[in-house]
Protein backbone atom coordinates (compact mmCIF):
# COMPACT_ATOMS: atom_id res chain seq x y z
CA UNK A 1 0.00 0.00 0.00
CA UNK A 2 1.61 3.27 -1.00
CA UNK A 3 1.22 6.65 0.60
CA UNK A 4 -0.65 8.16 -2.34
CA UNK A 5 -3.23 5.41 -2.15
CA UNK A 6 -3.83 6.09 1.53
CA UNK A 7 -4.03 9.82 1.00
CA UNK A 8 -6.54 9.33 -1.80
CA UNK A 9 -8.62 7.11 0.43
CA UNK A 10 -8.47 9.68 3.23
CA UNK A 11 -9.76 12.45 0.98
CA UNK A 12 -12.63 10.42 -0.48
CA UNK A 13 -13.30 9.29 3.09
CA UNK A 14 -13.68 12.89 4.19
CA UNK A 15 -16.02 13.59 1.28
CA UNK A 16 -18.14 10.55 2.10
CA UNK A 17 -18.30 11.63 5.73
CA UNK A 18 -19.40 15.07 4.60
CA UNK A 19 -22.30 13.62 2.62
CA UNK A 20 -23.41 11.57 5.58
CA UNK A 21 -23.32 14.63 7.78
CA UNK A 22 -25.57 16.30 5.22
CA UNK A 23 -28.06 13.42 5.56
CA UNK A 24 -28.08 13.90 9.34
CA UNK A 25 -28.57 17.65 8.95
CA UNK A 26 -31.32 17.13 6.38
CA UNK A 27 -33.23 14.82 8.74
CA UNK A 28 -32.66 17.35 11.52
CA UNK A 29 -33.95 20.29 9.47
CA UNK A 30 -37.01 18.33 8.33
CA UNK A 31 -37.78 17.35 11.91
CA UNK A 32 -37.35 20.85 13.27
CA UNK A 33 -39.96 22.08 10.78
CA UNK A 34 -42.28 19.20 11.61
CA UNK A 35 -42.03 19.38 15.40
CA UNK A 36 -41.38 22.31 17.75
CA UNK A 37 -39.96 19.90 20.30
CA UNK A 38 -37.12 18.70 18.07
CA UNK A 39 -34.63 21.55 17.98
CA UNK A 40 -34.39 22.15 21.72
CA UNK A 41 -31.25 21.71 23.82
CA UNK A 42 -32.93 19.00 25.93
CA UNK A 43 -33.96 17.00 22.87
CA UNK A 44 -30.50 17.29 21.29
CA UNK A 45 -28.94 15.94 24.50
CA UNK A 46 -31.67 13.30 24.56
CA UNK A 47 -30.85 12.11 21.03
CA UNK A 48 -27.09 12.12 21.71
CA UNK A 49 -27.55 10.12 24.91
CA UNK A 50 -29.70 7.57 23.09
CA UNK A 51 -27.14 7.30 20.28
CA UNK A 52 -24.30 6.78 22.76
CA UNK A 53 -25.15 3.19 23.66
CA UNK A 54 -25.52 2.17 20.03
CA UNK A 55 -22.30 3.97 19.11
CA UNK A 56 -20.30 2.23 21.84
CA UNK A 57 -21.25 -1.24 20.53
CA UNK A 58 -20.94 -0.23 16.88
CA UNK A 59 -17.53 1.44 17.30
CA UNK A 60 -15.82 -1.81 18.28
CA UNK A 61 -17.73 -3.63 15.57
CA UNK A 62 -16.46 -1.07 13.03
CA UNK A 63 -12.87 -2.19 13.65
CA UNK A 64 -13.87 -5.79 12.90
CA UNK A 65 -15.75 -4.78 9.76
CA UNK A 66 -12.70 -2.77 8.61
CA UNK A 67 -10.77 -6.06 8.47
CA UNK A 68 -13.52 -7.55 6.23
CA UNK A 69 -14.70 -9.55 9.27
CA UNK A 70 -17.96 -9.48 11.18
CA UNK A 71 -18.83 -9.85 14.85
CA UNK A 72 -22.38 -11.21 15.10
CA UNK A 73 -21.88 -11.88 18.78
CA UNK A 74 -21.48 -8.24 19.94
CA UNK A 75 -25.07 -7.85 21.11
CA UNK A 76 -25.19 -11.29 22.75
CA UNK A 77 -21.87 -10.41 24.38
CA UNK A 78 -23.45 -7.22 25.72
CA UNK A 79 -26.32 -9.30 27.12
CA UNK A 80 -24.08 -11.80 28.91
CA UNK A 81 -21.67 -9.12 30.17
CA UNK A 82 -24.64 -7.16 31.55
CA UNK A 83 -26.02 -10.22 33.36
CA UNK A 84 -22.65 -11.22 34.82
CA UNK A 85 -21.77 -7.65 35.81
CA UNK A 86 -25.24 -7.25 37.35
CA UNK A 87 -24.77 -10.24 39.63
CA UNK A 88 -21.25 -9.07 40.52
CA UNK A 89 -22.69 -5.67 41.43
CA UNK A 90 -25.41 -7.28 43.53
CA UNK A 91 -23.01 -9.67 45.24
CA UNK A 92 -20.27 -7.18 46.11
CA UNK A 93 -22.06 -3.83 46.04
CA UNK A 94 -18.87 -2.40 44.57
CA UNK A 95 -19.17 -0.43 41.31
CA UNK A 96 -15.48 -1.07 40.60
CA UNK A 97 -15.93 -4.86 40.76
CA UNK A 98 -19.06 -4.59 38.60
CA UNK A 99 -17.30 -2.50 35.97
CA UNK A 100 -14.26 -4.79 35.90
CA UNK A 101 -16.44 -7.90 35.64
CA UNK A 102 -18.44 -6.47 32.74
CA UNK A 103 -15.36 -5.40 30.81
CA UNK A 104 -13.56 -8.67 31.57
CA UNK A 105 -16.52 -10.70 30.29
CA UNK A 106 -16.69 -8.63 27.11
CA UNK A 107 -12.93 -8.79 26.51
CA UNK A 108 -12.85 -12.53 27.25
CA UNK A 109 -15.59 -13.29 24.75
CA UNK A 110 -13.97 -11.02 22.16
CA UNK A 111 -10.63 -12.76 22.66
CA UNK A 112 -12.33 -16.14 22.21
CA UNK A 113 -13.85 -14.88 18.97
CA UNK A 114 -10.39 -13.75 17.88
CA UNK A 115 -8.94 -17.19 18.60
CA UNK A 116 -11.72 -18.90 16.62
CA UNK A 117 -10.99 -16.64 13.66
CA UNK A 118 -7.18 -16.74 13.83
CA UNK A 119 -6.12 -20.03 15.45
CA UNK A 120 -8.94 -22.17 14.09
CA UNK A 121 -9.26 -20.10 10.88
CA UNK A 122 -13.06 -20.18 11.07
CA UNK A 123 -14.81 -17.68 8.80
CA UNK A 124 -15.73 -14.71 11.06
CA UNK A 125 -19.43 -14.99 10.20
CA UNK A 126 -19.58 -18.61 11.36
CA UNK A 127 -17.29 -18.16 14.36
CA UNK A 128 -19.24 -15.23 15.77
CA UNK A 129 -22.61 -16.71 14.77
CA UNK A 130 -21.75 -19.80 16.78
CA UNK A 131 -20.54 -17.58 19.61
CA UNK A 132 -23.85 -15.68 19.48
CA UNK A 133 -25.77 -18.87 20.32
CA UNK A 134 -23.28 -19.99 22.93
CA UNK A 135 -23.62 -16.61 24.66
CA UNK A 136 -27.42 -16.58 24.42
CA UNK A 137 -27.45 -20.07 25.86
CA UNK A 138 -25.15 -19.10 28.72
CA UNK A 139 -27.24 -16.00 29.49
CA UNK A 140 -30.53 -17.94 29.46
CA UNK A 141 -29.05 -20.65 31.65
CA UNK A 142 -27.45 -18.15 34.01
CA UNK A 143 -30.57 -16.01 34.43
CA UNK A 144 -33.20 -18.81 34.21
CA UNK A 145 -35.90 -16.33 33.24
CA UNK A 146 -35.11 -14.01 36.15
CA UNK A 147 -34.26 -10.31 36.20
CA UNK A 148 -31.47 -8.74 38.28
CA UNK A 149 -32.27 -5.16 39.23
CA UNK A 150 -31.57 -2.29 41.59
CA UNK A 151 -27.95 -1.08 41.54
CA UNK A 152 -26.14 1.48 43.69
CA UNK A 153 -26.56 5.18 42.79
CA UNK A 154 -22.78 5.46 42.40
CA UNK A 155 -22.70 2.87 39.64
CA UNK A 156 -25.81 4.28 37.98
CA UNK A 157 -23.99 7.58 37.38
CA UNK A 158 -22.28 5.95 34.35
CA UNK A 159 -25.62 5.75 32.58
CA UNK A 160 -27.90 8.32 34.16
CA UNK A 161 -25.52 10.87 35.68
CA UNK A 162 -24.72 14.37 34.41
CA UNK A 163 -21.57 16.47 34.32
CA UNK A 164 -22.17 20.20 33.82
CA UNK A 165 -25.63 19.50 32.46
CA UNK A 166 -24.50 16.92 29.90
CA UNK A 167 -25.30 13.20 30.40
CA UNK A 168 -22.26 10.99 31.13
CA UNK A 169 -22.93 8.57 28.19
CA UNK A 170 -22.42 11.50 25.80
CA UNK A 171 -18.94 12.10 27.25
CA UNK A 172 -18.20 8.40 26.86
CA UNK A 173 -19.35 8.55 23.26
CA UNK A 174 -17.04 11.46 22.39
CA UNK A 175 -14.10 10.06 24.36
CA UNK A 176 -14.32 6.80 22.45
CA UNK A 177 -14.86 8.66 19.20
CA UNK A 178 -11.58 10.50 19.84
CA UNK A 179 -9.74 7.33 20.86
CA UNK A 180 -11.17 5.44 17.88
CA UNK A 181 -10.30 8.22 15.46
CA UNK A 182 -6.75 8.46 16.78
CA UNK A 183 -6.26 4.70 16.80
CA UNK A 184 -7.53 4.12 13.26
CA UNK A 185 -6.15 7.24 11.57
CA UNK A 186 -2.99 8.11 13.44
CA UNK A 187 -1.39 4.85 14.56
CA UNK A 188 0.44 2.22 12.54
CA UNK A 189 -1.77 -0.48 14.02
CA UNK A 190 -4.86 1.37 12.88
CA UNK A 191 -3.54 1.76 9.36
CA UNK A 192 -2.58 -1.92 9.34
CA UNK A 193 -6.19 -2.79 10.13
CA UNK A 194 -7.31 -0.88 7.03
CA UNK A 195 -4.61 -2.63 5.00
CA UNK A 196 -5.71 -6.08 6.18
CA UNK A 197 -9.30 -5.34 5.15
CA UNK A 198 -8.31 -3.90 1.78
CA UNK A 199 -6.05 -6.80 0.83
CA UNK A 200 -5.12 -9.46 3.39
CA UNK A 201 -2.55 -11.14 1.13
CA UNK A 202 -0.71 -7.91 0.39
CA UNK A 203 -0.89 -7.03 4.08
CA UNK A 204 0.71 -10.31 5.07
CA UNK A 205 3.38 -10.07 2.38
CA UNK A 206 4.26 -6.55 3.50
CA UNK A 207 5.02 -7.91 6.95
CA UNK A 208 1.87 -6.96 8.87
CA UNK A 209 1.19 -9.51 11.64
CA UNK A 210 -2.32 -10.16 10.30
CA UNK A 211 -3.36 -12.81 12.85
CA UNK A 212 -2.30 -10.69 15.81
CA UNK A 213 -4.13 -7.62 14.49
CA UNK A 214 -7.26 -9.70 13.93
CA UNK A 215 -7.05 -11.05 17.48
CA UNK A 216 -6.80 -7.44 18.61
CA UNK A 217 -9.87 -6.15 16.74
CA UNK A 218 -12.15 -8.98 17.96
CA UNK A 219 -10.93 -8.44 21.51
CA UNK A 220 -11.55 -4.68 21.24
CA UNK A 221 -15.01 -5.30 19.82
CA UNK A 222 -15.76 -7.56 22.78
CA UNK A 223 -14.40 -4.99 25.21
CA UNK A 224 -16.64 -2.27 23.75
CA UNK A 225 -19.63 -4.62 24.07
CA UNK A 226 -18.69 -5.06 27.74
CA UNK A 227 -18.47 -1.30 28.21
CA UNK A 228 -21.81 -0.77 26.47
CA UNK A 229 -23.30 -3.42 28.77
CA UNK A 230 -22.29 -1.29 31.77
CA UNK A 231 -23.90 1.81 30.27
CA UNK A 232 -27.02 -0.24 29.61
CA UNK A 233 -27.13 -1.53 33.20
CA UNK A 234 -26.53 1.90 34.66
CA UNK A 235 -29.27 3.47 32.52
CA UNK A 236 -31.92 0.76 32.82
CA UNK A 237 -31.08 -0.37 36.36
CA UNK A 238 -31.85 -3.94 35.36
CA UNK A 239 -30.51 -6.95 33.46
CA UNK A 240 -32.38 -9.71 31.65
CA UNK A 241 -31.00 -12.54 29.51
CA UNK A 242 -32.36 -11.22 26.22
CA UNK A 243 -31.43 -7.53 26.42
CA UNK A 244 -28.75 -7.80 23.73
CA UNK A 245 -30.81 -9.37 20.97
CA UNK A 246 -32.60 -6.27 19.64
CA UNK A 247 -29.28 -4.39 19.40
CA UNK A 248 -27.44 -6.59 16.89
CA UNK A 249 -28.95 -5.39 13.63
CA UNK A 250 -28.98 -1.70 14.60
CA UNK A 251 -25.28 -2.01 15.54
CA UNK A 252 -24.37 -3.54 12.17
CA UNK A 253 -26.64 -1.02 10.43
CA UNK A 254 -24.95 1.91 12.22
CA UNK A 255 -21.56 0.78 10.84
CA UNK A 256 -22.83 0.27 7.30
CA UNK A 257 -24.97 3.42 7.19
CA UNK A 258 -21.87 5.16 8.48
CA UNK A 259 -20.01 4.07 5.37
CA UNK A 260 -18.20 0.92 6.45
CA UNK A 261 -18.08 -1.82 3.82
CA UNK A 262 -18.55 -5.51 4.63
CA UNK A 263 -15.76 -6.14 2.09
CA UNK A 264 -13.33 -4.40 4.45
CA UNK A 265 -10.85 -1.57 4.22
CA UNK A 266 -13.49 1.17 4.03
CA UNK A 267 -15.20 3.00 6.86
CA UNK A 268 -14.49 5.27 9.80
CA UNK A 269 -15.38 5.52 13.47
CA UNK A 270 -16.85 8.98 12.88
CA UNK A 271 -18.99 7.52 10.10
CA UNK A 272 -20.31 4.96 12.56
CA UNK A 273 -21.23 7.76 14.97
CA UNK A 274 -23.22 9.34 12.16
CA UNK A 275 -24.86 5.99 11.40
CA UNK A 276 -25.88 5.65 15.05
CA UNK A 277 -27.19 9.23 15.01
CA UNK A 278 -29.30 8.63 11.89
CA UNK A 279 -30.92 5.52 13.39
CA UNK A 280 -31.58 7.34 16.67
CA UNK A 281 -32.98 10.41 14.91
CA UNK A 282 -35.44 8.25 13.00
CA UNK A 283 -36.90 6.82 16.22
CA UNK A 284 -36.86 10.24 17.90
CA UNK A 285 -38.62 11.78 14.92
CA UNK A 286 -41.26 9.06 14.71
CA UNK A 287 -42.04 9.43 18.41
CA UNK A 288 -42.21 13.23 18.22
CA UNK A 289 -44.46 13.11 15.16
CA UNK A 290 -46.41 10.18 16.63
CA UNK A 291 -46.09 8.00 13.56
CA UNK A 292 -48.46 5.04 13.96
CA UNK A 293 -46.94 1.78 15.17
CA UNK A 294 -47.93 0.09 11.93
CA UNK A 295 -45.96 2.54 9.81
CA UNK A 296 -42.81 2.74 11.93
CA UNK A 297 -40.95 -0.20 10.36
CA UNK A 298 -41.71 1.13 6.89
CA UNK A 299 -40.56 4.65 7.72
CA UNK A 300 -37.35 3.35 9.32
CA UNK A 301 -36.57 1.25 6.25
CA UNK A 302 -37.41 4.02 3.80
CA UNK A 303 -35.19 6.58 5.55
CA UNK A 304 -32.25 4.17 5.78
CA UNK A 305 -32.57 3.31 2.08
CA UNK A 306 -32.97 6.94 1.04
CA UNK A 307 -30.09 8.11 3.23
CA UNK A 308 -27.63 5.48 2.07
CA UNK A 309 -28.91 5.62 -1.52
CA UNK A 310 -28.33 9.36 -1.86
CA UNK A 311 -24.94 8.96 -0.24
CA UNK A 312 -23.92 6.17 -2.63
CA UNK A 313 -25.04 8.12 -5.70
CA UNK A 314 -23.16 11.25 -4.73
CA UNK A 315 -20.09 9.27 -3.75
CA UNK A 316 -20.00 7.42 -7.06
CA UNK A 317 -20.29 10.73 -8.90
CA UNK A 318 -17.44 12.14 -6.80
CA UNK A 319 -15.29 9.10 -7.52
CA UNK A 320 -15.96 9.27 -11.26
CA UNK A 321 -14.65 12.84 -11.29
CA UNK A 322 -11.32 11.71 -9.82
Amino acid sequence: MNVLDLRHRASTGAIALGYRLIVVIAIGVALSFASDAFLTPTNILNVLRQAALLFLIASGLTLVILTAGLDLSVAANLGLAACVAASALKATGSPVVGVLTGIACGVGVGFANGLLVTALRLPPFIATYGMLWVLHGLSYYYMAGETIYGFSPGFREIGSGYLVGVPIPIYLMFVFLAIGWFFTQRTTWGQEIYAIGANPVAARLSGIPVQRRLLLVYTLSGGMAGLAALVYLARLNSAEADIGEPLLLPAIAACLIGGASLFGGVGTISGTLIGALILTLVLNGMNLLEVSANWQPFVTGAIVLAGVGIDMLTRRRAEEKH
Binding site: T40, G145, S160, S238, L288
Partner: protein
Amino acid sequence: MKRAMLMTAAAFAMLAASGVKAEGEKIAVFTKNNTNPFFQAVRLGADSAAKQMNVTVTQFVPTKPDSIPEQMSQIEDVIVRRPDAIVFIPVDYKAMTPGVEKINRAGIPAVNIVDRSAGGKFVAFVGANDYTIGLATARHLVRALGGKGNVVIIEGVRGSLTSNDRVRGFQEAIKEAPGVKLLASQPANYQRLQALQVMENLMQSHPQIDGVLAANDAMALGALEALDGAKRKALVIGINGTKEAVDAIKSGRLLASGDYNGFLQGCMGTMIAARNLRKLPTPREILLPPVVVDKSNYQPYDIPVESRTCPKWESIVKTGR
Protein backbone atom coordinates in the same frame (compact mmCIF):
# COMPACT_ATOMS: atom_id res chain seq x y z
CA MET B 1 -45.86 -54.94 20.15
CA LYS B 2 -47.41 -57.87 21.97
CA ARG B 3 -45.39 -57.08 25.05
CA ALA B 4 -46.49 -53.45 24.89
CA MET B 5 -50.09 -54.53 24.74
CA LEU B 6 -49.59 -56.87 27.66
CA MET B 7 -48.03 -54.06 29.63
CA THR B 8 -50.93 -51.76 28.84
CA ALA B 9 -53.29 -54.47 29.94
CA ALA B 10 -51.34 -54.86 33.17
CA ALA B 11 -51.45 -51.11 33.68
CA PHE B 12 -55.21 -51.13 33.20
CA ALA B 13 -55.53 -53.95 35.66
CA MET B 14 -53.53 -51.92 38.19
CA LEU B 15 -55.70 -48.90 37.48
CA ALA B 16 -58.80 -50.94 38.11
CA ALA B 17 -57.33 -52.37 41.29
CA SER B 18 -56.44 -48.97 42.73
CA GLY B 19 -59.76 -47.40 41.72
CA VAL B 20 -58.45 -45.21 38.86
CA LYS B 21 -56.08 -43.50 41.27
CA ALA B 22 -52.75 -44.31 39.69
CA GLU B 23 -50.01 -41.82 40.48
CA GLY B 24 -46.67 -40.80 39.01
CA GLU B 25 -48.07 -40.09 35.54
CA LYS B 26 -45.67 -38.38 33.15
CA ILE B 27 -46.72 -34.96 31.87
CA ALA B 28 -44.78 -32.99 29.24
CA VAL B 29 -45.05 -29.20 29.56
CA PHE B 30 -44.39 -26.98 26.53
CA THR B 31 -43.53 -23.29 27.00
CA LYS B 32 -42.39 -20.66 24.53
CA ASN B 33 -38.96 -19.52 25.72
CA ASN B 34 -36.36 -19.37 28.44
CA THR B 35 -36.13 -15.58 28.48
CA ASN B 36 -39.51 -14.25 29.57
CA PRO B 37 -40.08 -14.51 33.35
CA PHE B 38 -43.75 -15.16 32.59
CA PHE B 39 -43.01 -18.60 31.15
CA GLN B 40 -40.62 -19.31 34.01
CA ALA B 41 -43.63 -18.71 36.30
CA VAL B 42 -45.72 -21.10 34.16
CA ARG B 43 -43.05 -23.80 34.50
CA LEU B 44 -42.77 -23.30 38.26
CA GLY B 45 -46.57 -23.46 38.53
CA ALA B 46 -46.53 -26.76 36.64
CA ASP B 47 -43.75 -28.09 38.92
CA SER B 48 -45.68 -27.08 42.02
CA ALA B 49 -48.85 -28.73 40.73
CA ALA B 50 -46.82 -31.84 39.91
CA LYS B 51 -45.68 -32.07 43.53
CA GLN B 52 -49.21 -31.60 44.79
CA MET B 53 -50.74 -34.17 42.42
CA ASN B 54 -47.77 -36.56 42.59
CA VAL B 55 -47.02 -36.55 38.85
CA THR B 56 -43.71 -36.15 37.00
CA VAL B 57 -43.34 -33.06 34.83
CA THR B 58 -40.78 -32.70 32.00
CA GLN B 59 -40.28 -29.23 30.53
CA PHE B 60 -39.83 -28.55 26.82
CA VAL B 61 -38.55 -25.11 25.87
CA PRO B 62 -37.17 -24.09 22.46
CA THR B 63 -33.53 -22.98 22.82
CA LYS B 64 -34.21 -20.28 20.25
CA PRO B 65 -37.02 -18.27 21.84
CA ASP B 66 -40.45 -18.82 20.24
CA SER B 67 -39.00 -21.00 17.46
CA ILE B 68 -41.76 -22.72 15.46
CA PRO B 69 -39.57 -25.45 13.88
CA GLU B 70 -37.96 -26.22 17.21
CA GLN B 71 -41.25 -26.67 19.04
CA MET B 72 -42.43 -28.80 16.12
CA SER B 73 -39.45 -31.15 16.45
CA GLN B 74 -39.86 -31.22 20.23
CA ILE B 75 -43.43 -32.43 19.68
CA GLU B 76 -42.12 -35.20 17.44
CA ASP B 77 -39.58 -36.22 20.09
CA VAL B 78 -42.23 -36.20 22.79
CA ILE B 79 -44.59 -38.37 20.77
CA VAL B 80 -41.82 -40.98 20.62
CA ARG B 81 -41.30 -40.78 24.38
CA ARG B 82 -45.07 -41.03 24.96
CA PRO B 83 -45.88 -39.07 28.10
CA ASP B 84 -49.31 -39.70 29.64
CA ALA B 85 -50.44 -36.14 28.96
CA ILE B 86 -49.24 -32.84 27.53
CA VAL B 87 -49.68 -29.28 28.75
CA PHE B 88 -49.20 -27.06 25.74
CA ILE B 89 -48.47 -23.41 24.96
CA PRO B 90 -48.10 -22.97 21.19
CA VAL B 91 -45.17 -20.67 20.28
CA ASP B 92 -47.49 -19.45 17.53
CA TYR B 93 -51.22 -19.97 17.90
CA LYS B 94 -51.76 -20.60 14.17
CA ALA B 95 -48.50 -22.14 12.94
CA MET B 96 -48.44 -24.88 15.61
CA THR B 97 -51.78 -26.39 14.55
CA PRO B 98 -50.13 -29.26 12.59
CA GLY B 99 -48.10 -30.05 15.73
CA VAL B 100 -51.24 -30.23 17.82
CA GLU B 101 -52.80 -32.52 15.22
CA LYS B 102 -49.77 -34.83 15.53
CA ILE B 103 -50.34 -34.98 19.30
CA ASN B 104 -54.03 -35.73 18.66
CA ARG B 105 -53.15 -38.53 16.22
CA ALA B 106 -50.78 -40.04 18.77
CA GLY B 107 -53.72 -40.12 21.18
CA ILE B 108 -51.98 -38.18 23.95
CA PRO B 109 -54.48 -35.99 25.84
CA ALA B 110 -53.40 -32.34 25.80
CA VAL B 111 -54.37 -29.26 27.80
CA ASN B 112 -53.94 -25.89 26.09
CA ILE B 113 -52.84 -23.01 28.31
CA VAL B 114 -52.01 -19.29 27.95
CA ASP B 115 -52.44 -18.83 24.16
CA ARG B 116 -55.46 -20.47 22.61
CA SER B 117 -54.43 -22.73 19.73
CA ALA B 118 -56.23 -22.04 16.45
CA GLY B 119 -56.68 -25.76 15.73
CA GLY B 120 -56.43 -29.29 17.12
CA LYS B 121 -58.32 -30.96 19.96
CA PHE B 122 -57.71 -30.25 23.62
CA VAL B 123 -59.09 -31.59 26.89
CA ALA B 124 -59.40 -28.03 28.18
CA PHE B 125 -58.17 -24.47 27.82
CA VAL B 126 -56.78 -22.36 30.66
CA GLY B 127 -56.02 -18.73 29.96
CA ALA B 128 -56.44 -15.13 30.84
CA ASN B 129 -57.88 -12.47 28.59
CA ASP B 130 -55.45 -9.74 27.56
CA TYR B 131 -58.25 -7.32 26.75
CA THR B 132 -59.93 -7.55 30.15
CA ILE B 133 -56.56 -7.31 31.92
CA GLY B 134 -55.69 -4.21 29.90
CA LEU B 135 -59.11 -2.72 30.61
CA ALA B 136 -59.02 -3.44 34.36
CA THR B 137 -55.47 -2.11 34.78
CA ALA B 138 -56.16 1.02 32.74
CA ARG B 139 -59.36 1.69 34.71
CA HIS B 140 -57.26 1.51 37.85
CA LEU B 141 -54.99 4.23 36.46
CA VAL B 142 -57.95 6.38 35.38
CA ARG B 143 -59.40 6.15 38.89
CA ALA B 144 -56.03 7.07 40.44
CA LEU B 145 -55.87 10.09 38.13
CA GLY B 146 -59.29 11.18 39.40
CA GLY B 147 -60.73 10.77 35.91
CA LYS B 148 -58.64 13.52 34.32
CA GLY B 149 -55.17 14.03 32.91
CA ASN B 150 -52.88 13.40 29.93
CA VAL B 151 -51.76 9.86 29.27
CA VAL B 152 -49.52 8.00 26.81
CA ILE B 153 -49.63 4.33 25.79
CA ILE B 154 -46.47 2.28 25.22
CA GLU B 155 -47.39 -0.63 22.98
CA GLY B 156 -45.71 -4.05 22.78
CA VAL B 157 -44.69 -5.86 19.59
CA ARG B 158 -46.79 -4.35 16.83
CA GLY B 159 -49.25 -6.77 15.36
CA SER B 160 -48.94 -9.29 18.19
CA LEU B 161 -52.21 -10.51 19.68
CA THR B 162 -51.23 -9.80 23.28
CA SER B 163 -50.21 -6.23 22.55
CA ASN B 164 -53.23 -5.50 20.36
CA ASP B 165 -55.67 -6.81 22.97
CA ARG B 166 -54.00 -5.09 25.91
CA VAL B 167 -53.82 -1.78 24.04
CA ARG B 168 -57.49 -2.15 23.04
CA GLY B 169 -58.32 -2.55 26.73
CA PHE B 170 -56.27 0.59 27.53
CA GLN B 171 -58.05 2.59 24.83
CA GLU B 172 -61.48 1.47 26.01
CA ALA B 173 -60.77 2.61 29.58
CA ILE B 174 -59.50 5.97 28.29
CA LYS B 175 -62.65 6.39 26.17
CA GLU B 176 -64.79 5.79 29.24
CA ALA B 177 -63.19 8.78 30.97
CA PRO B 178 -63.92 12.02 29.06
CA GLY B 179 -61.42 13.92 31.22
CA VAL B 180 -58.50 11.71 30.21
CA LYS B 181 -56.68 12.71 27.06
CA LEU B 182 -54.57 10.20 25.09
CA LEU B 183 -51.52 12.17 23.91
CA ALA B 184 -49.72 9.41 22.01
CA SER B 185 -49.57 5.66 21.50
CA GLN B 186 -46.12 4.41 20.45
CA PRO B 187 -44.55 0.93 20.18
CA ALA B 188 -41.53 -0.24 22.20
CA ASN B 189 -41.73 -3.97 21.31
CA TYR B 190 -41.95 -5.12 24.94
CA GLN B 191 -38.30 -3.99 25.31
CA ARG B 192 -37.12 -2.03 28.30
CA LEU B 193 -34.47 0.01 26.46
CA GLN B 194 -36.87 0.96 23.68
CA ALA B 195 -39.55 1.95 26.19
CA LEU B 196 -37.01 4.18 27.96
CA GLN B 197 -36.11 5.87 24.69
CA VAL B 198 -39.71 6.21 23.51
CA MET B 199 -40.67 7.77 26.85
CA GLU B 200 -37.67 10.15 26.69
CA ASN B 201 -38.79 11.19 23.22
CA LEU B 202 -42.45 11.62 24.18
CA MET B 203 -41.45 13.80 27.12
CA GLN B 204 -39.77 16.15 24.64
CA SER B 205 -43.02 16.90 22.83
CA HIS B 206 -45.39 16.66 25.82
CA PRO B 207 -44.52 18.88 28.78
CA GLN B 208 -47.31 17.41 30.89
CA ILE B 209 -47.80 13.62 31.04
CA ASP B 210 -49.83 12.41 34.02
CA GLY B 211 -50.16 8.73 33.26
CA VAL B 212 -48.29 6.03 31.33
CA LEU B 213 -49.94 2.76 30.23
CA ALA B 214 -47.35 0.16 29.25
CA ALA B 215 -48.31 -3.19 27.74
CA ASN B 216 -45.82 -5.06 29.97
CA ASP B 217 -43.84 -4.52 33.15
CA ALA B 218 -40.39 -4.25 31.53
CA MET B 219 -41.62 -1.31 29.42
CA ALA B 220 -43.36 0.27 32.42
CA LEU B 221 -40.09 0.12 34.36
CA GLY B 222 -38.15 1.50 31.38
CA ALA B 223 -40.60 4.41 31.19
CA LEU B 224 -40.17 4.97 34.93
CA GLU B 225 -36.40 5.25 34.46
CA ALA B 226 -36.99 7.88 31.78
CA LEU B 227 -39.32 9.84 34.07
CA ASP B 228 -36.86 9.63 36.97
CA GLY B 229 -34.02 10.72 34.69
CA ALA B 230 -35.99 13.81 33.66
CA LYS B 231 -37.09 14.38 37.29
CA ARG B 232 -40.72 14.20 36.20
CA LYS B 233 -43.59 12.38 37.84
CA ALA B 234 -46.40 10.36 36.32
CA LEU B 235 -48.52 7.41 37.41
CA VAL B 236 -47.32 4.31 35.55
CA ILE B 237 -48.98 0.94 35.06
CA GLY B 238 -47.63 -2.26 33.51
CA ILE B 239 -48.87 -5.79 32.93
CA ASN B 240 -47.58 -9.20 34.13
CA GLY B 241 -47.19 -8.79 37.89
CA THR B 242 -43.44 -9.60 37.79
CA LYS B 243 -41.40 -9.58 40.98
CA GLU B 244 -39.58 -6.47 39.82
CA ALA B 245 -42.89 -4.67 39.23
CA VAL B 246 -44.15 -5.75 42.65
CA ASP B 247 -41.00 -4.29 44.24
CA ALA B 248 -41.62 -1.04 42.37
CA ILE B 249 -45.26 -1.05 43.57
CA LYS B 250 -44.08 -1.63 47.13
CA SER B 251 -41.73 1.35 46.98
CA GLY B 252 -44.46 3.51 45.45
CA ARG B 253 -42.80 4.05 42.07
CA LEU B 254 -45.19 1.95 40.00
CA LEU B 255 -48.94 2.43 40.45
CA ALA B 256 -50.10 -1.05 39.48
CA SER B 257 -49.53 -4.09 37.30
CA GLY B 258 -52.24 -6.19 35.68
CA ASP B 259 -51.55 -9.80 36.57
CA TYR B 260 -51.59 -12.39 33.85
CA ASN B 261 -50.66 -15.01 36.48
CA GLY B 262 -48.49 -17.47 34.60
CA PHE B 263 -47.90 -19.42 37.80
CA LEU B 264 -51.62 -20.12 38.27
CA GLN B 265 -52.04 -21.00 34.59
CA GLY B 266 -49.19 -23.53 34.92
CA CYS B 267 -50.85 -24.94 38.07
CA MET B 268 -54.28 -25.23 36.52
CA GLY B 269 -53.09 -26.72 33.23
CA THR B 270 -51.07 -29.43 34.96
CA MET B 271 -53.83 -30.18 37.46
CA ILE B 272 -56.40 -30.56 34.69
CA ALA B 273 -54.06 -32.86 32.74
CA ALA B 274 -53.56 -35.06 35.83
CA ARG B 275 -57.23 -35.01 36.83
CA ASN B 276 -58.26 -35.93 33.32
CA LEU B 277 -55.94 -38.96 33.42
CA ARG B 278 -57.50 -39.99 36.72
CA LYS B 279 -61.00 -39.59 35.28
CA LEU B 280 -61.83 -36.81 37.72
CA PRO B 281 -64.20 -34.07 36.54
CA THR B 282 -62.49 -31.16 34.75
CA PRO B 283 -63.93 -27.98 33.25
CA ARG B 284 -63.59 -27.43 29.47
CA GLU B 285 -62.35 -23.91 29.93
CA ILE B 286 -60.99 -21.71 32.70
CA LEU B 287 -60.55 -17.99 32.11
CA LEU B 288 -58.77 -16.46 35.05
CA PRO B 289 -60.40 -13.20 36.16
CA PRO B 290 -58.16 -10.12 35.75
CA VAL B 291 -56.33 -9.12 38.91
CA VAL B 292 -54.74 -5.69 39.26
CA VAL B 293 -51.79 -5.77 41.67
CA ASP B 294 -51.32 -2.53 43.58
CA LYS B 295 -50.24 -1.25 46.99
CA SER B 296 -53.29 -2.79 48.67
CA ASN B 297 -52.91 -6.40 47.52
CA TYR B 298 -49.30 -7.02 46.48
CA GLN B 299 -48.39 -9.30 49.41
CA PRO B 300 -49.08 -12.67 47.74
CA TYR B 301 -47.02 -11.54 44.71
CA ASP B 302 -44.13 -10.46 46.91
CA ILE B 303 -43.26 -14.12 47.51
CA PRO B 304 -40.66 -15.22 44.91
CA VAL B 305 -42.31 -17.45 42.31
CA GLU B 306 -39.94 -20.31 43.27
CA SER B 307 -41.44 -20.52 46.75
CA ARG B 308 -45.10 -20.18 45.76
CA THR B 309 -47.35 -23.22 45.84
CA CYS B 310 -50.42 -23.94 43.77
CA PRO B 311 -53.73 -23.39 45.51
CA LYS B 312 -55.85 -26.47 46.13
CA TRP B 313 -58.05 -27.45 43.20
CA GLU B 314 -61.22 -27.13 45.27
CA SER B 315 -60.42 -23.54 46.23
CA ILE B 316 -60.29 -22.36 42.61
CA VAL B 317 -62.73 -24.57 40.74
CA LYS B 318 -66.16 -25.10 42.23
CA THR B 319 -66.96 -28.81 42.28
CA GLY B 320 -69.89 -30.02 40.30
CA ARG B 321 -69.07 -28.02 37.20
